[in-house]
Symmetry: C2
């Protein structure tokens, strides 16, 4: 019985505390700046998603993500990155400013079955560790659910 | 003498007519959509470069181009692509429209010595063959010359 308690209660606490469970979430997408750029969009003041998505965002994808963006069906392992930067408009030109946040979608049909097979995470500013998603991605998925026909992804490939 | 005339006058005409000289210009950058995205900027109505650069443009680079964008010194073989799209703003969001033109800079210090070592070309809309530059890149270079300290390139790498 003692051993049972250790296994069921103490071990997970120890693993979480030591970070050994980190692999169960969504990883920071190392190297995404050399992945393929899918599309760009800017959201301005007054847009329904201005909080927290106001600014210019680029969507990048790894190889499986590109395949998915072209076909509308994403294999496990596909990763999409939503790179949100401040957007500075002056003298009739708009340029990129500092990073606001980095959004990540990772496809793993089994692990993230409750959110359409996608794991959602956000990283604050340019941090690789400061995470923004605290509801298991439910609020992200609530909006992405409208894109069910495209495997819950808004982005489409542009030639 | 007859042979001399053939070599000096007729041969170039034949070569141009058959397209054998095409390699002397700037090639269409096949596959650039999977190259690395360097930066994005939008030029609006009233900007000094609105004709012909109004819209949103993305800059992509091949491997040598990325290295150059990070260091400010570009090796021969570096290629930068300026992908200009219409920019549609409505409902407090801006999205990408059709392609206006595709600008290309190719580094070849010997071949393009008159324009800072860079060959300049533009392709109309999404055409791979309809070329826009007719002055050997002199007008392009006149503007890029201000960026001599960065090897005549405006774009800087953004992490």
């Amino acid at each position: 019985m003692k051993q049972h308690i250790l296994k069921r209660i103490l071990l997970p606490i120890i693993l979480v505390a030591t970070g050994a469970y980190a692999g169960d979430g969504v990883d920071y997408p190392d190297g995404y700046r050399s992945w393929t750029h899918i599309k760009t969009m800017a959201l301005h003041k007054g847009h329904a998603l201005q909080d927290p998505f106001m600014g210019i965002h680029h969507v990048y994808a790894n190889e499986q993500g590109v395949k998915g963006a072209k076909t509308g069906q994403f294999d496990d392992g596909a990763v999409l990155v939503f790179d949100l930067l401040n957007y500075i408009t002056q003298d009739n030109a708009s340029t990129e400013g500092d990073r606001v946040l980095l959004g990540v979608m990772t496809k793993d049909s089994a692990k993230f079955a409750n959110t359409g097979g996608w794991g959602f995470e956000g990283f604050k500013g340019s941090s690789h560790t400061e995470r923004l998603v605290s509801d298991g991605g439910q609020s992200c998925f609530a909006c992405h659910e409208s894109q069910q026909a495209n495997d819950y992804v808004f982005s489409r490939w542009r030639e």
